[in-house]
Amino acid sequence: MKKNLLILLTVVMVISLFTGVVGAQENLTIQGSSTVLPIAQKAAEVYMENNDVSISVRGGGSGNGIAALIDGTTDIADASRFIKQEEVDNAVANGHFPVPHRVAMDGIAVVVHPDNPIDKLTLMEIKQIYTGQIENWSELGGTNQEVVVISRDSSSGTFEVFNEIAVEGERVTPGALLQASNGAVKDTVANTEGAIGYVGLGYLDESIKATKVNGVYPTNSTVASGKFPIARPLFMFTDGWPEGLVADYINFVLSAEGQKIVEEQGYVPLH
Protein backbone atom coordinates (compact mmCIF):
# COMPACT_ATOMS: atom_id res chain seq x y z
CA MET A 1 0.00 0.00 0.00
CA LYS A 2 2.74 2.39 1.00
CA LYS A 3 4.72 1.46 -2.08
CA ASN A 4 1.77 2.20 -4.36
CA LEU A 5 1.37 5.58 -2.77
CA LEU A 6 5.02 6.33 -3.38
CA ILE A 7 4.76 5.37 -7.05
CA LEU A 8 1.65 7.47 -7.46
CA LEU A 9 3.39 10.43 -5.88
CA THR A 10 6.38 10.05 -8.17
CA VAL A 11 4.15 9.86 -11.24
CA VAL A 12 2.29 12.98 -10.19
CA MET A 13 5.53 14.83 -9.63
CA VAL A 14 6.99 13.79 -12.97
CA ILE A 15 3.81 14.81 -14.80
CA SER A 16 3.68 18.16 -13.14
CA LEU A 17 7.33 18.67 -13.99
CA PHE A 18 6.61 18.00 -17.66
CA THR A 19 3.53 20.14 -17.90
CA GLY A 20 5.59 22.87 -16.33
CA VAL A 21 8.07 22.59 -19.16
CA VAL A 22 5.53 22.09 -21.95
CA GLY A 23 3.26 24.94 -20.94
CA ALA A 24 6.26 27.22 -20.49
CA GLN A 25 5.11 30.73 -19.72
CA GLU A 26 6.62 33.77 -21.27
CA ASN A 27 9.57 34.97 -19.22
CA LEU A 28 10.75 38.45 -18.41
CA THR A 29 13.85 39.26 -16.39
CA ILE A 30 14.48 42.61 -14.76
CA GLN A 31 17.69 43.53 -13.00
CA GLY A 32 19.33 46.64 -11.60
CA SER A 33 19.01 49.52 -9.15
CA SER A 34 17.78 48.66 -5.69
CA THR A 35 16.06 52.07 -5.66
CA VAL A 36 13.85 51.03 -8.57
CA LEU A 37 13.51 47.49 -7.24
CA PRO A 38 10.38 48.07 -5.09
CA ILE A 39 8.57 49.59 -8.07
CA ALA A 40 9.65 46.85 -10.49
CA GLN A 41 8.86 44.14 -7.93
CA LYS A 42 5.40 45.37 -6.99
CA ALA A 43 4.50 46.12 -10.61
CA ALA A 44 5.65 42.60 -11.57
CA GLU A 45 3.51 41.04 -8.84
CA VAL A 46 0.38 42.90 -9.92
CA TYR A 47 1.13 42.26 -13.58
CA MET A 48 1.58 38.52 -12.99
CA GLU A 49 -1.75 38.35 -11.18
CA ASN A 50 -3.51 39.41 -14.36
CA ASN A 51 -1.30 37.75 -16.97
CA ASP A 52 0.06 34.24 -17.23
CA VAL A 53 3.72 35.22 -17.43
CA SER A 54 6.71 34.80 -15.20
CA ILE A 55 8.70 37.90 -14.27
CA SER A 56 11.84 37.67 -12.19
CA VAL A 57 13.12 40.86 -10.60
CA ARG A 58 16.56 41.26 -9.11
CA GLY A 59 18.44 44.14 -7.49
CA GLY A 60 22.20 44.46 -7.51
CA GLY A 61 22.59 48.11 -8.44
CA SER A 62 22.26 50.24 -11.57
CA GLY A 63 25.73 49.31 -12.84
CA ASN A 64 25.06 45.59 -12.57
CA GLY A 65 21.68 45.97 -14.30
CA ILE A 66 23.08 47.90 -17.26
CA ALA A 67 25.99 45.44 -17.49
CA ALA A 68 23.43 42.62 -17.73
CA LEU A 69 21.61 44.50 -20.52
CA ILE A 70 24.91 44.91 -22.38
CA ASP A 71 25.53 41.16 -22.04
CA GLY A 72 21.98 40.40 -23.12
CA THR A 73 21.18 38.51 -19.92
CA THR A 74 18.31 40.74 -18.84
CA ASP A 75 15.32 42.19 -20.70
CA ILE A 76 15.01 45.33 -18.62
CA ALA A 77 17.72 47.14 -16.65
CA ASP A 78 16.56 49.31 -13.75
CA ALA A 79 18.72 52.35 -13.15
CA SER A 80 18.65 55.27 -10.76
CA ARG A 81 21.00 57.21 -13.04
CA PHE A 82 21.28 57.79 -16.78
CA ILE A 83 23.40 55.38 -18.83
CA LYS A 84 27.06 56.40 -19.30
CA GLN A 85 28.56 56.94 -22.77
CA GLU A 86 31.02 54.11 -22.13
CA GLU A 87 28.15 51.74 -21.41
CA VAL A 88 26.30 52.78 -24.57
CA ASP A 89 29.46 52.12 -26.61
CA ASN A 90 29.87 48.68 -25.04
CA ALA A 91 26.23 47.83 -25.68
CA VAL A 92 26.35 48.89 -29.32
CA ALA A 93 29.56 46.91 -29.80
CA ASN A 94 27.66 43.89 -28.43
CA GLY A 95 24.73 44.50 -30.78
CA HIS A 96 22.38 45.89 -28.12
CA PHE A 97 20.69 49.29 -28.23
CA PRO A 98 19.66 50.58 -24.79
CA VAL A 99 16.50 52.70 -24.79
CA PRO A 100 15.68 54.74 -21.64
CA HIS A 101 12.17 54.87 -20.16
CA ARG A 102 11.61 57.31 -17.35
CA VAL A 103 9.28 55.50 -14.93
CA ALA A 104 9.25 57.67 -11.79
CA MET A 105 10.86 60.52 -9.93
CA ASP A 106 12.75 60.07 -6.69
CA GLY A 107 12.64 63.10 -4.39
CA ILE A 108 14.40 63.43 -1.07
CA ALA A 109 13.02 65.73 1.59
CA VAL A 110 15.23 67.32 4.24
CA VAL A 111 13.51 66.91 7.58
CA VAL A 112 13.85 68.36 11.09
CA HIS A 113 12.04 67.92 14.39
CA PRO A 114 8.58 69.58 14.35
CA ASP A 115 9.59 71.87 17.24
CA ASN A 116 12.56 73.26 15.34
CA PRO A 117 11.74 76.84 14.24
CA ILE A 118 13.87 76.45 11.09
CA ASP A 119 11.61 75.76 8.13
CA LYS A 120 13.74 76.65 5.14
CA LEU A 121 17.34 75.89 4.19
CA THR A 122 19.46 76.48 1.15
CA LEU A 123 21.45 73.73 -0.54
CA MET A 124 24.59 75.53 0.67
CA GLU A 125 23.41 75.46 4.28
CA ILE A 126 22.52 71.77 4.00
CA LYS A 127 25.96 71.09 2.63
CA GLN A 128 27.61 73.02 5.48
CA ILE A 129 25.57 71.08 8.03
CA TYR A 130 26.40 67.70 6.50
CA THR A 131 30.10 68.46 6.13
CA GLY A 132 30.25 69.57 9.77
CA GLN A 133 30.86 73.32 9.20
CA ILE A 134 27.61 74.29 10.89
CA GLU A 135 27.24 72.57 14.25
CA ASN A 136 24.63 74.64 16.04
CA TRP A 137 21.17 75.71 14.93
CA SER A 138 21.85 79.23 16.22
CA GLU A 139 24.27 79.71 13.31
CA LEU A 140 21.22 79.52 11.05
CA GLY A 141 19.12 81.81 13.22
CA GLY A 142 17.53 78.96 15.16
CA THR A 143 17.69 78.02 18.82
CA ASN A 144 20.99 77.42 20.62
CA GLN A 145 21.02 73.68 20.12
CA GLU A 146 23.59 71.26 18.77
CA VAL A 147 22.76 69.92 15.30
CA VAL A 148 22.40 66.13 15.34
CA VAL A 149 23.24 65.12 11.78
CA ILE A 150 21.51 61.95 10.65
CA SER A 151 22.56 60.19 7.49
CA ARG A 152 21.92 56.91 5.72
CA ASP A 153 24.38 54.05 5.32
CA SER A 154 26.69 55.04 2.51
CA SER A 155 25.74 52.15 0.23
CA SER A 156 22.06 53.12 0.00
CA GLY A 157 20.62 54.78 -3.08
CA THR A 158 19.05 57.55 -0.98
CA PHE A 159 22.48 58.44 0.40
CA GLU A 160 23.91 58.43 -3.11
CA VAL A 161 21.45 61.02 -4.46
CA PHE A 162 21.51 63.18 -1.37
CA ASN A 163 25.27 63.15 -1.20
CA GLU A 164 25.61 63.96 -4.87
CA ILE A 165 23.05 66.77 -5.05
CA ALA A 166 23.05 68.30 -1.57
CA VAL A 167 26.57 67.60 -0.33
CA GLU A 168 28.13 67.79 -3.83
CA GLY A 169 30.13 64.61 -3.32
CA GLU A 170 32.04 65.88 -0.31
CA ARG A 171 32.54 63.72 2.75
CA VAL A 172 29.71 63.71 5.26
CA THR A 173 30.98 64.52 8.75
CA PRO A 174 32.05 61.35 10.57
CA GLY A 175 29.99 62.53 13.54
CA ALA A 176 26.79 61.90 11.58
CA LEU A 177 24.51 59.23 12.99
CA LEU A 178 23.94 56.31 10.70
CA GLN A 179 20.48 54.88 10.20
CA ALA A 180 19.90 51.93 7.93
CA SER A 181 16.46 52.81 6.55
CA ASN A 182 14.14 55.71 5.71
CA GLY A 183 11.88 54.61 8.56
CA ALA A 184 14.73 54.65 11.08
CA VAL A 185 15.78 58.16 9.99
CA LYS A 186 12.23 59.40 10.37
CA ASP A 187 11.94 57.82 13.81
CA THR A 188 15.22 59.28 15.04
CA VAL A 189 14.40 62.79 13.77
CA ALA A 190 10.95 62.60 15.37
CA ASN A 191 12.55 61.78 18.75
CA THR A 192 15.52 64.18 18.64
CA GLU A 193 14.92 67.93 18.93
CA GLY A 194 18.18 68.99 17.28
CA ALA A 195 18.12 66.45 14.49
CA ILE A 196 18.28 66.90 10.74
CA GLY A 197 17.80 64.01 8.35
CA TYR A 198 16.60 63.16 4.87
CA VAL A 199 13.96 60.69 3.69
CA GLY A 200 12.14 59.74 0.52
CA LEU A 201 9.00 61.80 -0.09
CA GLY A 202 6.76 58.86 0.72
CA TYR A 203 7.91 58.90 4.35
CA LEU A 204 6.76 62.41 5.21
CA ASP A 205 4.11 62.74 7.91
CA GLU A 206 3.30 64.99 10.86
CA SER A 207 5.92 63.43 13.17
CA ILE A 208 8.68 65.23 11.26
CA LYS A 209 8.89 68.57 9.46
CA ALA A 210 10.09 68.90 5.88
CA THR A 211 11.98 72.13 5.20
CA LYS A 212 11.87 74.20 2.06
CA VAL A 213 15.04 73.78 0.06
CA ASN A 214 16.12 76.86 -1.92
CA GLY A 215 12.61 78.18 -1.26
CA VAL A 216 10.77 75.16 -2.67
CA TYR A 217 8.66 72.86 -0.52
CA PRO A 218 8.94 69.17 -1.45
CA THR A 219 5.68 67.90 -2.90
CA ASN A 220 4.88 65.44 -5.65
CA SER A 221 4.32 68.26 -8.12
CA THR A 222 7.49 70.24 -7.31
CA VAL A 223 9.55 67.04 -7.59
CA ALA A 224 7.86 65.93 -10.81
CA SER A 225 8.34 69.38 -12.35
CA GLY A 226 12.00 69.48 -11.31
CA LYS A 227 11.57 72.62 -9.17
CA PHE A 228 12.56 70.83 -5.97
CA PRO A 229 16.34 70.47 -6.22
CA ILE A 230 17.02 67.16 -4.45
CA ALA A 231 15.39 64.85 -6.98
CA ARG A 232 16.32 62.53 -9.79
CA PRO A 233 14.51 60.52 -12.46
CA LEU A 234 14.41 56.72 -12.28
CA PHE A 235 14.78 54.69 -15.45
CA MET A 236 14.11 51.32 -16.97
CA PHE A 237 16.34 50.56 -19.95
CA THR A 238 15.26 48.12 -22.64
CA ASP A 239 17.22 46.59 -25.48
CA GLY A 240 15.90 48.40 -28.53
CA TRP A 241 12.38 49.85 -28.71
CA PRO A 242 10.33 47.45 -26.52
CA GLU A 243 8.05 44.87 -28.13
CA GLY A 244 5.71 42.17 -26.88
CA LEU A 245 5.86 41.41 -23.17
CA VAL A 246 8.58 43.99 -22.45
CA ALA A 247 6.50 46.75 -24.05
CA ASP A 248 3.40 45.57 -22.23
CA TYR A 249 5.17 45.61 -18.86
CA ILE A 250 6.70 49.06 -19.39
CA ASN A 251 3.31 50.37 -20.49
CA PHE A 252 1.82 48.91 -17.33
CA VAL A 253 4.38 50.71 -15.15
CA LEU A 254 3.61 53.96 -16.98
CA SER A 255 -0.16 53.46 -16.80
CA ALA A 256 -2.32 55.09 -14.13
CA GLU A 257 -2.31 51.83 -12.17
CA GLY A 258 1.46 51.47 -12.45
CA GLN A 259 2.03 55.05 -11.35
CA LYS A 260 -0.21 54.39 -8.35
CA ILE A 261 2.20 51.61 -7.40
CA VAL A 262 5.07 54.09 -7.82
CA GLU A 263 3.40 56.40 -5.31
CA GLU A 264 2.59 53.57 -2.90
CA GLN A 265 6.24 52.57 -2.84
CA GLY A 266 7.22 56.06 -1.71
CA TYR A 267 8.30 57.58 -5.03
CA VAL A 268 6.88 60.42 -7.07
CA PRO A 269 4.66 59.46 -10.02
CA LEU A 270 5.25 61.11 -13.39
CA HIS A 271 1.64 62.24 -13.75
Binding site: G60, E146, S154, S155, T173, L178, Q179
Partner: protein
Protein backbone atom coordinates in the same frame (compact mmCIF):
# COMPACT_ATOMS: atom_id res chain seq x y z
CA UNK B 1 19.77 -6.47 5.28
CA UNK B 2 21.34 -7.97 8.39
CA UNK B 3 21.73 -5.97 11.55
CA UNK B 4 25.47 -5.54 11.15
CA UNK B 5 25.24 -3.64 7.88
CA UNK B 6 22.38 -1.63 9.30
CA UNK B 7 24.50 -0.64 12.29
CA UNK B 8 27.31 0.33 10.00
CA UNK B 9 25.10 2.50 7.80
CA UNK B 10 23.65 4.24 10.82
CA UNK B 11 27.13 4.77 12.20
CA UNK B 12 28.27 6.51 9.02
CA UNK B 13 25.15 8.63 8.77
CA UNK B 14 25.72 9.81 12.31
CA UNK B 15 29.37 10.46 11.54
CA UNK B 16 28.42 12.68 8.61
CA UNK B 17 26.00 14.67 10.74
CA UNK B 18 28.55 14.94 13.51
CA UNK B 19 31.15 16.28 11.10
CA UNK B 20 28.74 18.76 9.53
CA UNK B 21 29.23 21.54 12.05
CA UNK B 22 32.98 21.31 11.59
CA UNK B 23 32.42 21.51 7.84
CA UNK B 24 30.26 24.59 8.29
CA UNK B 25 32.98 26.23 10.35
CA UNK B 26 35.64 25.42 7.78
CA UNK B 27 33.36 26.66 5.00
CA UNK B 28 32.70 29.94 6.76
CA UNK B 29 36.40 30.51 7.46
CA UNK B 30 37.32 29.79 3.84
CA UNK B 31 34.69 32.18 2.46
CA UNK B 32 35.59 34.85 5.01
CA UNK B 33 39.26 34.81 4.11
CA UNK B 34 38.76 34.39 0.37
CA UNK B 35 36.46 37.44 0.19
CA UNK B 36 38.19 39.58 2.77
CA UNK B 37 41.92 39.02 2.45
CA UNK B 38 42.42 40.99 -0.80
CA UNK B 39 41.60 44.26 0.97
CA UNK B 40 44.56 43.77 3.31
CA UNK B 41 46.87 43.70 0.30
CA UNK B 42 45.16 46.58 -1.46
CA UNK B 43 45.00 48.95 1.50
CA UNK B 44 47.79 47.55 3.62
CA UNK B 45 47.20 45.94 7.02
CA UNK B 46 48.37 48.99 8.96
CA UNK B 47 46.27 51.46 6.97
CA UNK B 48 43.23 49.21 7.21
CA UNK B 49 43.46 48.51 10.94
CA UNK B 50 44.71 51.92 12.05
CA UNK B 51 43.22 54.27 9.48
CA UNK B 52 40.90 56.73 11.17
CA UNK B 53 38.54 57.42 8.28
CA UNK B 54 35.79 55.13 7.05
CA UNK B 55 34.47 56.50 3.74
CA UNK B 56 33.99 53.33 1.70
CA UNK B 57 31.80 54.66 -1.12
CA UNK B 58 33.60 57.90 -1.96
CA UNK B 59 36.10 58.48 -4.68
CA UNK B 60 38.84 58.26 -3.46
CA UNK B 61 37.62 55.92 -0.75
CA UNK B 62 39.06 55.53 2.76
CA UNK B 63 38.98 52.16 4.45
CA UNK B 64 40.29 52.87 7.96
CA UNK B 65 38.50 50.78 10.57
CA UNK B 66 40.15 52.07 13.75
CA UNK B 67 37.00 54.07 14.71
CA UNK B 68 34.92 50.91 14.29
CA UNK B 69 37.31 48.72 16.28
CA UNK B 70 37.56 51.36 19.01
CA UNK B 71 33.78 51.63 19.16
CA UNK B 72 33.41 47.86 19.52
CA UNK B 73 36.04 47.77 22.26
CA UNK B 74 34.56 50.80 24.05
CA UNK B 75 31.03 49.44 23.99
CA UNK B 76 32.16 45.96 25.09
CA UNK B 77 34.27 47.28 27.97
CA UNK B 78 31.39 49.50 29.00
CA UNK B 79 29.09 46.49 28.95
CA UNK B 80 31.50 44.56 31.19
CA UNK B 81 31.88 47.43 33.67
CA UNK B 82 28.12 47.30 33.95
CA UNK B 83 27.61 43.53 33.85
CA UNK B 84 30.53 42.07 35.83
CA UNK B 85 29.70 43.57 39.27
CA UNK B 86 26.00 42.84 38.86
CA UNK B 87 26.63 39.38 37.45
CA UNK B 88 29.16 38.40 40.11
CA UNK B 89 27.11 39.60 43.05
CA UNK B 90 24.07 37.86 41.62
CA UNK B 91 25.91 34.58 41.25
CA UNK B 92 27.42 34.76 44.75
CA UNK B 93 24.00 35.58 46.13
CA UNK B 94 22.32 32.76 44.24
CA UNK B 95 24.89 30.14 45.15
CA UNK B 96 25.51 31.04 48.81
CA UNK B 97 22.79 33.12 50.30
CA UNK B 98 19.60 32.23 48.52
CA UNK B 99 17.71 29.13 49.76
CA UNK B 100 17.89 26.29 47.28
CA UNK B 101 14.16 26.25 46.62
CA UNK B 102 14.20 29.87 45.43
CA UNK B 103 17.43 29.31 43.53
CA UNK B 104 15.86 26.60 41.42
CA UNK B 105 13.18 29.09 40.52
CA UNK B 106 15.35 32.21 40.00
CA UNK B 107 18.14 30.74 37.89
CA UNK B 108 15.94 29.59 34.99
CA UNK B 109 14.32 33.02 34.97
CA UNK B 110 17.71 34.71 34.60
CA UNK B 111 18.59 32.29 31.84
CA UNK B 112 15.35 33.28 30.14
CA UNK B 113 16.93 36.73 29.60
CA UNK B 114 19.25 35.05 27.12
CA UNK B 115 16.31 33.89 25.06
CA UNK B 116 14.93 37.35 24.32
CA UNK B 117 15.62 38.29 20.67
CA UNK B 118 18.18 41.06 20.36
CA UNK B 119 15.86 43.26 18.33
CA UNK B 120 13.63 43.53 21.41
CA UNK B 121 16.59 44.74 23.48
CA UNK B 122 17.22 47.18 20.66
CA UNK B 123 13.67 48.51 20.78
CA UNK B 124 13.87 48.91 24.54
CA UNK B 125 17.18 50.77 24.25
CA UNK B 126 15.87 53.03 21.50
CA UNK B 127 12.51 53.91 23.01
CA UNK B 128 13.06 53.77 26.78
CA UNK B 129 16.72 53.87 27.79
CA UNK B 130 17.91 56.26 25.04
CA UNK B 131 15.39 59.05 25.76
CA UNK B 132 15.97 58.52 29.52
CA UNK B 133 19.75 59.00 29.25
CA UNK B 134 19.20 61.93 26.91
CA UNK B 135 17.12 63.73 29.54
CA UNK B 136 19.43 62.87 32.45
CA UNK B 137 22.65 64.01 30.79
CA UNK B 138 21.06 66.72 28.64
CA UNK B 139 22.44 65.14 25.47
CA UNK B 140 21.52 66.12 21.91
CA UNK B 141 20.76 62.45 21.24
CA UNK B 142 20.20 59.41 23.46
CA UNK B 143 21.75 57.00 20.97
CA UNK B 144 25.23 56.74 22.46
CA UNK B 145 27.98 54.31 23.39
CA UNK B 146 26.63 54.32 26.96
CA UNK B 147 23.15 53.26 25.81
CA UNK B 148 24.68 50.41 23.83
CA UNK B 149 26.95 49.43 26.75
CA UNK B 150 24.05 49.14 29.18
CA UNK B 151 21.96 47.13 26.73
CA UNK B 152 24.85 44.81 25.91
CA UNK B 153 25.60 44.49 29.62
CA UNK B 154 22.05 43.31 30.25
CA UNK B 155 22.36 40.89 27.35
CA UNK B 156 25.65 39.48 28.67
CA UNK B 157 24.26 39.04 32.22
CA UNK B 158 22.70 35.59 31.77
CA UNK B 159 25.96 34.18 30.40
CA UNK B 160 28.02 35.67 33.22
CA UNK B 161 25.59 34.79 36.02
CA UNK B 162 24.90 31.29 34.85
CA UNK B 163 28.51 30.26 34.20
CA UNK B 164 30.06 31.94 37.24
CA UNK B 165 27.32 30.51 39.46
CA UNK B 166 28.27 27.06 38.12
CA UNK B 167 31.92 27.82 38.85
CA UNK B 168 31.20 29.01 42.40
CA UNK B 169 28.94 26.05 43.14
CA UNK B 170 31.53 23.58 41.93
CA UNK B 171 34.12 24.80 44.46
CA UNK B 172 34.32 21.76 46.77
CA UNK B 173 32.30 22.09 49.96
CA UNK B 174 35.33 21.18 52.07
CA UNK B 175 37.05 24.45 51.08
CA UNK B 176 34.23 26.39 52.61
CA UNK B 177 34.01 24.15 55.67
CA UNK B 178 37.76 24.47 56.27
CA UNK B 179 37.61 28.25 56.04
CA UNK B 180 34.65 28.53 58.39
CA UNK B 181 36.26 26.04 60.80
CA UNK B 182 39.35 28.22 60.95
CA UNK B 183 37.19 31.05 62.19
CA UNK B 184 36.69 32.90 58.91
CA UNK B 185 33.49 34.89 58.59
CA UNK B 186 31.11 34.18 55.76
CA UNK B 187 32.33 37.22 53.83
CA UNK B 188 35.97 36.26 54.34
CA UNK B 189 35.16 32.77 53.13
CA UNK B 190 33.49 34.08 50.00
CA UNK B 191 36.02 36.79 49.15
CA UNK B 192 39.25 35.03 50.16
CA UNK B 193 38.53 31.35 49.50
CA UNK B 194 35.59 30.77 47.21
CA UNK B 195 36.05 33.57 44.67
CA UNK B 196 39.82 33.04 44.22
CA UNK B 197 39.23 29.32 43.74
CA UNK B 198 36.46 29.95 41.26
CA UNK B 199 38.34 32.82 39.59
CA UNK B 200 39.30 31.06 36.40
CA UNK B 201 35.73 29.82 36.00
CA UNK B 202 34.55 33.36 36.51
CA UNK B 203 37.05 34.66 33.96
CA UNK B 204 35.65 32.09 31.51
CA UNK B 205 32.16 33.44 32.05
CA UNK B 206 33.34 37.02 31.55
CA UNK B 207 35.21 36.15 28.37
CA UNK B 208 32.15 34.43 26.94
CA UNK B 209 30.00 37.40 27.98
CA UNK B 210 32.46 39.69 26.17
CA UNK B 211 32.27 37.48 23.12
CA UNK B 212 28.50 37.86 23.16
CA UNK B 213 28.75 41.63 23.57
CA UNK B 214 31.33 42.31 20.87
CA UNK B 215 29.55 40.12 18.32
CA UNK B 216 26.08 41.51 19.01
CA UNK B 217 24.75 43.32 15.97
CA UNK B 218 21.08 44.26 15.93
CA UNK B 219 21.02 45.97 19.32
CA UNK B 220 24.09 48.13 18.68
CA UNK B 221 22.88 48.98 15.20
CA UNK B 222 19.68 50.30 16.77
CA UNK B 223 21.00 52.07 19.87
CA UNK B 224 24.66 53.05 19.42
CA UNK B 225 23.91 55.95 17.05
CA UNK B 226 26.26 54.91 14.29
CA UNK B 227 28.69 57.82 13.91
CA UNK B 228 31.87 56.60 12.23
CA UNK B 229 34.10 59.21 13.92
CA UNK B 230 36.74 58.13 16.43
CA UNK B 231 34.87 57.68 19.74
CA UNK B 232 35.36 60.80 21.87
CA UNK B 233 33.55 59.57 24.92
CA UNK B 234 30.93 57.28 26.29
CA UNK B 235 28.15 59.84 25.74
CA UNK B 236 28.77 60.17 22.00
CA UNK B 237 27.25 58.12 19.18
CA UNK B 238 29.59 55.41 17.92
CA UNK B 239 29.54 52.76 15.20
CA UNK B 240 30.77 49.23 15.89
CA UNK B 241 32.23 46.73 13.45
CA UNK B 242 29.12 44.56 13.49
CA UNK B 243 26.75 47.48 12.87
CA UNK B 244 28.84 48.60 9.90
CA UNK B 245 28.71 45.18 8.27
CA UNK B 246 24.98 44.84 8.87
CA UNK B 247 24.08 48.31 7.60
CA UNK B 248 26.26 48.35 4.51
CA UNK B 249 26.49 44.80 3.19
CA UNK B 250 23.00 44.70 1.66
CA UNK B 251 23.58 47.06 -1.24
CA UNK B 252 27.32 46.77 -1.74
CA UNK B 253 28.34 45.52 -5.21
CA UNK B 254 29.74 42.00 -4.89
CA UNK B 255 33.52 41.88 -5.30
CA UNK B 256 34.06 45.65 -4.94
CA UNK B 257 36.65 47.10 -2.56
CA UNK B 258 33.86 48.09 -0.19
CA UNK B 259 32.55 44.51 -0.20
CA UNK B 260 36.00 43.13 0.51
CA UNK B 261 36.53 45.69 3.26
CA UNK B 262 33.32 44.56 4.98
CA UNK B 263 34.61 40.99 4.85
CA UNK B 264 37.94 42.32 6.13
CA UNK B 265 36.09 43.72 9.17
CA UNK B 266 34.44 40.34 9.57
CA UNK B 267 37.88 38.68 9.65
CA UNK B 268 39.05 41.07 12.38
CA UNK B 269 35.87 40.41 14.34
CA UNK B 270 36.23 36.66 13.86
CA UNK B 271 39.80 36.70 15.17
CA UNK B 272 38.76 38.75 18.21
CA UNK B 273 35.85 36.48 19.15
CA UNK B 274 37.94 33.38 18.44
CA UNK B 275 40.64 34.57 20.84
CA UNK B 276 37.99 35.29 23.49
CA UNK B 277 36.73 31.75 23.11
CA UNK B 278 40.20 30.24 23.23
CA UNK B 279 41.08 32.21 26.38
CA UNK B 280 37.77 31.16 27.92
CA UNK B 281 38.50 27.54 27.09
CA UNK B 282 42.02 27.64 28.52
CA UNK B 283 40.92 29.24 31.79
CA UNK B 284 38.08 26.76 32.05
CA UNK B 285 40.53 23.86 31.79
CA UNK B 286 42.76 25.45 34.41
CA UNK B 287 39.77 25.88 36.67
CA UNK B 288 38.76 22.22 36.56
CA UNK B 289 42.33 21.16 37.20
CA UNK B 290 42.39 23.41 40.27
CA UNK B 291 39.04 22.24 41.63
CA UNK B 292 39.82 18.59 41.14
CA UNK B 293 43.01 19.21 43.12
CA UNK B 294 45.46 17.89 40.55
Amino acid sequence: MDWKTKEKIIKYILLIFAMSSIMFLIGIVIVLFREGLPIFYKIGIIDFLFGQEWYPTYDPASFGILPLISASVLVTLGAMIFAVPIGLSTSVFISYIMPKSIKNFIKPIIELLAGIPSVIYGLFGMKILGPFLKDIFGLPTGLTALTASIMLGIMALPTIISLSEDAITSVPKKFRDASLALGGTRWETISKVILPTASSGIVTSIMLGMGRAIGETMTVLMVAGGASAMPEGILKPVRTMTATIAAEMGETPVGSNHYQALFGIAIVLFIITLSFNIIADLTRKRFYKKVSGK
